[in-house]
């Protein structure tokens, strides 16, 4: 299938969801689309959809990670002074990276947080639009709220999944903040898509994780990441991987190499996917796979500040299991991650969200945005 023939009604629907439900575009918005070359086609799809609504988006190409000219290129299309009710709507599309965060922040710093919205897409492509944007932010928000209400009151968790996962975790909700990826625009914060996850840093965790859905790694990986036919079994003791196995030699060797990195065996993230639209793992290395309703552990880089977590790591390896039951403290009945009931309450204000410095913290489940 050629790149432009990938644009079909399903993709188009996803783009409309991005514009209506996620960005909540207004006629007076000034649309800016920044993109890396690997996401040129998805960026063009969105530009076309904007044109259909009489927007005239400014297109800003960028190189991933390092681009000496990006600041000037972006600044050129961002008005020096905001006027009236106009809002800057910056949509950033990348496939593998999330680049130039500080540059974007510094350029938008002259605006009041109500006067701009930044939506950052990773793994930009057909699956993002067809699957990743199917659930609306308010739906994700309600599911995340259900989880947060339980987790933030709990001291300990017992987690089981059909694939064989058996974990026991302790939480320190005073020390470790939660991340809630829900696609909701909050003034001053960046939205990261695809969304649908609640995550924190476990005070301690031990047991067995059987990752039978997929891996997601913050490295370039041109391999099938699906694990249904070759689950990864990990033994964890006191928050550290002590052993792992996988029937697939290539996957086992790859993970062994990842876990050799300094601090990569530390469980830096206890995550629960909440995006019900994700039912089948996608082939490619993608955040979509960790949004599956289920439990996942992120090894290596954490989702806290370095000071709080007490270490840094240059790799983050998510191992994702499908589904999961969570028992909170001494509760007799578990919460079924595949059968979450949306909360009717407001999504709680997260501690990280009150920190004006970490203005993108709410959505960054993997700790890769700084």
């Amino acid at each position: 299938m050629s790149l432009d023939s990938e644009l079909d009604q399903q993709v188009w629907d996803g783009i409309q969801s991005l514009m209506d439900d996620y960005a909540q575009m207004r006629p007076s918005d000034k649309i800016v689309i920044a993109y890396t070359s690997d996401s040129r086609t998805p960026a063009a799809w969105v530009a076309l959809a904007c044109e259909q609504r009489a927007f005239v988006p400014s297109m800003v190409p960028m190189r991933p990670l390092r681009d000496a000219g990006f600041r000037a290129r972006l600044a050129e299309v961002i008005p020096e002074y905001p006027s009236g009710d106009d809002r800057i709507m910056l949509l950033v599309f990348e496939r593998e990276t999330m680049s130039h965060n500080r540059i974007i922040k510094s350029i938008l710093a002259k605006y009041h947080p109500d006067q701009y919205q930044v939506i950052r897409a990773i793994n930009s492509g057909r699956n993002l639009f067809v699957t990743g944007l199917l659930m609306k932010p308010d739906e994700l928000s309600a599911l995340n709220t259900t989880l947060l209400e339980k987790c933030r009151q709990a001291h300990s968790l017992r987690i089981e999944a059909k694939g064989g996962t058996r974990l026991e975790a302790e939480l320190d909700n005073q020390k470790f903040q939660y991340k809630s990826s829900r696609g909701v625009g909050v003034p001053g914060k960046f939205v990261v898509i695809p969304a649908g996850e609640v995550a924190t840093f476990p005070k301690s965790i031990s047991g067995t994780l059987v990752a039978d859905f997929a891996i997601n790694v913050n490295i370039l990986l041109d391999k099938d990441v699906r694990l249904a036919t070759r689950p990864v079994t990990v033994e964890i003791e006191s928050g550290k991987l002590i052993d792992f196995d996988c029937p697939d030699r290539e996957m086992r060797d790859f993970l062994a190499k990842c876990f050799e990195r300094k601090n990569a065996t530390i469980v830096g993230e206890l995550g629960f996917g909440t995006n019900k639209a994700v039912t089948e793992a996608v082939f490619e290395n993608s955040h979509l796979n960790k949004r599956i309703p289920g439990v996942h552990l992120g090894f290596g880089q954490h989702n806290q500040t370095d000071e709080v977590a007490g270490y840094i790591c240059d790799i983050h390896i998510d191992l994702c299991a499908k589904g999961g039951l969570i028992w909170f403290d001494d509760a007799k009945d578990p919460l079924d991650l595949e059968q979450l009931t949306p909360s009717q309450n407001q999504h709680p204000q997260l501690v990280s969200g009150e920190d004006v410095v970490s203005d993108d913290a709410e959505d960054d489940c993997c700790g890769i945005l700084r």
Binding site: D8, A44, L65, T97
Partner: protein
């Protein structure tokens, strides 16, 4: 999603035109800009099929 607008007919022609324009803009801007390579290998001595990328945080 039922009320979403239909994919406009003939949009592929316009898509190809937009992509062509983007390619031209990239050629004009990016080719003159140093940096931007994703160059950090997780282990340079090992097989080349996986390559680590660095985030802004790590690069600064």
């Amino acid at each position: 999603m039922a009320s979403r607008p239909k994919l406009p007919e003939g949009i592929m022609v316009r898509l190809r035109s937009v992509i062509k324009d983007l390619e031209a803009a990239e050629e004009q801007h990016l080719d003159r800009t140093p940096g931007g390579e994703i160059e950090f290998k997780i282990n340079e001595a090992e097989a080349l099929w996986y390559v680590a990328y660095k985030t802004d945080a790590a690069a600064s």
